[in-house]
């Protein structure tokens, strides 16, 4: 470890202040700090600091994503093999999935991180860790057969327009990963919807359609999957969102470590359940009479509410605001599902919509505190006048 540290210090020399590569220091530091937490000490303010930093927080999110990702890789292979009706082992399925998905992850990281590094050097700040999560999320919510160049373009769009245009990490209004998906969704609709994109290679095989459950329902069809299959996730869908079970494991990690807001997650579940129940009572069409519990386990709802809605930057920031935000995401998700057959999965649009309204929610929550204070001032000056 000492040897490594010493050699790093040696390489670091030209990047130090006043040296010729000073401008590129953020790029070098990004690698350096990936190996070692730096030796900086406190200069002002509190003299001791917590062990937690943004890197640790983001790595925790990545760990929480892994169960869903690994299951997603397996499910990709599983869907492929049952479609071509070949016998296969767990390993076969896993290899097929990796073959498809790992290139997407690489493209997303390479494109996104290049832009992030460029902006860090240009603006002269350190590379923020936020993209480590975004870069993994983007491929996880794409359909499996999307061409790699589309992943690249969506990623570039998301990082440039949704994030850097607003000033970088911490300043964005919309969740960057969802923006990437929304971009692909509207720019290349044929690759993002229909019944041929959800199962690996489905376009090349004239087999039974691999439609998603919500797609089937929106078309008025009958669902042939059991509740257990939906929960476990052995159904067609975007890469890593199908398994509510493994998403729940991730949710548990986020909640126990305090990294994800349990208020948003539970708020979302409550909102979606209430909305689902109301529609069940109404029961006009297939989607409305689809049981509210099933609504919670199919589609990207679970994944969205756990990993996307809880993004602290684009979500509401106040405690009360988080509840309101979560509940509204849940309500809108089911509402869009039911009322808009063109978008059978509502969670993406619901979260993006609430991202836009999150500052407004916070505004009203904070204003309640402000008006309480102003009222107190007014009362005090009134008392002064009367006495």
């Amino acid at each position: 470890m000492n040897f490594l540290r010493k050699s790093l210090d040696k390489i670091k020399k030209p990047f130090e202040k006043g040296q010729k590569l000073e401008k590129f220091a953020p790029a070098f530091n990004a690698f350096d700090t990936l190996l070692f937490v730096p030796n900086h000490t406190t200069k002002k303010g509190s003299h001791i600091r917590d062990a937690v930093d943004l890197k640790r927080t983001m790595v925790t999110v990545i760990i929480a994503l892994l169960p869903a990702l690994i299951y997603g890789i397996y499910n990709t292979g599983y869907q492929y093999y049952i479609q071509i009706e070949e016998s296969f082992t767990f390993l076969d399925a896993f290899i097929h999935g990796s073959w498809k998905i790992i290139p997407m992850i690489i493209v997303s990281y390479v494109v996104g991180l290049s832009i992030e590094f460029g902006f860090a050097v240009y603006r002269g700040h350190e590379v923020n860790e936020g993209y480590l999560v975004t870069g993994l999320l983007i491929p996880m919510i794409m359909p499996i057969d999307i061409p790699l160049w589309m992943v690249g373009i969506s990623t570039a769009f998301a990082v440039l327009v949704a994030k850097e245009a607003f000033g970088g990490t911490g300043m964005n209004i919309l969740n960057p990963a969802l923006t990437a998906r929304a971009f692909a969704f509207f720019a290349y609709p044929t690759y993002m919807s229909g019944n041929k994109v959800w199962v690996s290679e489905a376009g090349n095989i004239d087999a039974i359609s691999g439609e998603t459950i919500l797609g089937t329902l929106a078309a008025g069809g009958q669902v042939n999957y059991s509740m257990m299959e939906m929960f476990q996730g052995s159904i067609p869908g975007s890469i890593a969102e199908t398994s509510t079970l493994w998403v729940a494991v991730g949710a548990l990690i986020l909640i126990l470590t305090g990294v994800g807001s349990w208020r948003i997650i539970f708020g979302g579940i409550i909102g979606a359940a209430i909305m689902g129940l109301l529609f069940n009572l109404w029961g006009q069409n297939e989607l409305m009479s689809f049981s509210w519990i099933n609504h919670l386990v199919v589609g990207g709802f679970a994944f969205g509410i756990v990993f996307m809605a809880t993004d602290p930057v684009s979500a509401a920031q106040t405690t009360k605001g988080k509840w309101i935000y979560g509940i509204l995401v849940g309500i809108f998700c089911i509402m869009i599902r039911v009322f808009n057959p063109a978008y059978p999965e509502g969670v993406m649009l619901a979260i993006l919509l609430m991202n836009v309204f999150a500052p407004t929610i916070d505004h009203y929550v904070v204003n309640a505190n402000i008006s309480m204070r102003k009222k107190r001032w007014a009362n005090a000056s009134h008392e002064l006048k009367t006495t």
Binding site: H47, L54, P312, Q317
Partner: protein, 452 residues
């Protein structure tokens, strides 16, 4: 004793560090130099009354506040002004006073103070150098003698890490404490608010002529901002005065003898100290003799005037701050940690975050150092400040308002109700390593200049 209100909070955290001072008070070792540091008086512009080489008595004015020339800051001892250290732009950093062998003091006429006019009493305190003991809210600056405060607050217990125990420190000074309270009561319509720790009220229970209240909860439950917000919230234009407990004793001693009392009982503590304990000394004492007395375990240490969250850096060759009862000595950090960003790694570092097991593994005392444990980043994580902030204020929103210098917003979000020290724990705990205290201090300075 009748407690007018019990206040309680769950929001906050007690940082359990090693090196709490043992309850022994030692006599001061011989101190070669004393110093006054104008920076200890936040919001004051110093103007010297004396030159280098001038002789002073204990209680002689050394400098005054340019904004209010009647307020004198006096010498804690008699001797000679040895050097005046200046910083950039000739800013006065330190006024070092070498004590003389024979200690003389200036004596003021205090007989019959009970019957004095309030304005005469104020003049007496200003002339004798006692006025700086009185602080003002909002802003946490020196009180303005022209104001009539709504109330006066004294808290007899603290909650910050390694905090001194005033029940022990002032155990033999009950009489002086009572007199100091009587003096302060002259300035307000309602009796002084006296805060006591709910679990260890000590003799402060029996102090007369005060409104007792008790508090309970993790740090910063002992901070006056929290007490004031619960008992006598600051409205626009309100002035509230606060006095540190030992300065109440100093005031009490002055009012009986007429001699400026500069007594300080300090706890020299911290995990770099072999045998942490208390000393009786005077304001501005050189720290080296005390540091040598308690034995320092490490080579490179940081000496802090105050507690680890809010104190200021004093060199090993530094001086005791004007208002400090605590000196904390901790090792300097400056070491790398390989893959230190992995969750649940390095659990020996004290952490309030659930990405570390430190609080489950070690329930007693932590060894701390000055490592930043990461790098400064944009604000991403939300809700972590609120968890440790007991005031009814949105801390992150207030910090952001201070960053963009939006005065109207700062007012509305409660800048009048906070002082920098309230954000000590926010500094410590926030993931982005944001310098919250620095930002709030800047905001308060802005308010002083723009609003006053």
């Amino acid at each position: 004793m009748e407690v007018i209100k019990e206040i309680e909070t769950r929001r906050g955290a007690n940082l359990k560090l090693n090196g709490i001072a043992e309850k022994i008070i030692e006599k001061s070792p011989s101190v070669a130099n004393y110093a006054l540091r104008p920076d200890d008086f936040f919001g004051t512009i110093p103007k010297l009354c004396l030159k280098e080489g001038s002789k002073v008595l204990a209680g002689s004015p050394v400098f005054f506040n340019k904004k209010n020339p009647d307020i004198k800051i006096v010498s804690p001892i008699s001797g000679t002004i040895k050097t005046i250290e200046r910083g950039p732009k000739r800013k006065i950093e330190l006024i070092i006073i070498e004590p003389s062998k024979k200690q003389d003091s200036i004596k003021h006429q205090v007989k019959g103070w009970e019957r004095m006019d309030i304005s005469d009493l104020k003049v007496l305190l200003m002339e004798s150098g006692n006025w700086p003991f009185i602080h003002q809210r909002p802003y946490g600056v020196m009180a303005n003698p022209l104001d009539e405060p709504k109330s006066i607050f004294v808290t007899t217990a603290k909650t910050d890490p390694l905090h001194e125990d005033f029940n022990f420190v002032l155990k033999n000074e009950q009489k002086e404490f009572q007199l100091g309270i009587d003096l302060l009561n002259k300035f307000v319509d309602q009796p002084v608010f006296l805060g006591i720790d709910k679990s260890f009220p000590g003799y402060f229970e029996s102090i007369k002529g005060v409104q007792h209240y008790s508090f309970k909860g993790p740090h910063p439950a002992g901070n006056l901002s929290f007490h004031i917000q619960k008992l006598s919230p600051i409205n626009m234009g309100d002035r509230i005065w606060t006095v540190n407990p030992e300065d109440v004793v100093n005031l009490g001693r002055f009012i009986t003898s007429g001699i400026f009392s500069s007594q300080r009982t300090i706890a020299v503590s911290g995990n770099a100290v072999q045998n942490p304990k208390y000393f009786k000394t005077k304001i501005g004492a050189e720290l080296a003799p005390f540091i040598n007395n308690v034995l320092v375990k490490e080579d490179k240490v940081r000496v802090i005037n105050g507690d680890v969250l809010t104190g200021t850096i004093a060199d090993v060759s530094g001086y005791l701050g004007y208002f400090n009862n605590l000196i904390t000595i901790i090792p300097e950090g400056s070491h790398y940690r390989m893959f230190g960003w992995l969750p649940f790694k390095d659990n020996k570092i004290l952490s309030l975050s659930n990405t570390s097991l430190s609080r489950f593994i070690n329930r007693n005392g932590f060894e701390v150092d000055t490592n930043l444990n990461g790098e400064e980043r944009a604000l991403v994580v939300t809700g972590e400040m609120e968890k440790i902030f007991p005031l009814d204020i949105f801390p992150m929103q207030l910090i952001k308002a201070c960053m963009v210098e939006d005065i109207e917003k700062m007012e509305a979000l409660g800048i009048y109700e906070v002082v920098t020290e309230d954000f000590g724990l926010v500094d410590y705990a926030n993931t982005s390593k944001l310098e919250a205290q620095e930002i709030i201090r800047h905001g308060i300075e802005l308010m002083i200049n723009e609003v006053g």
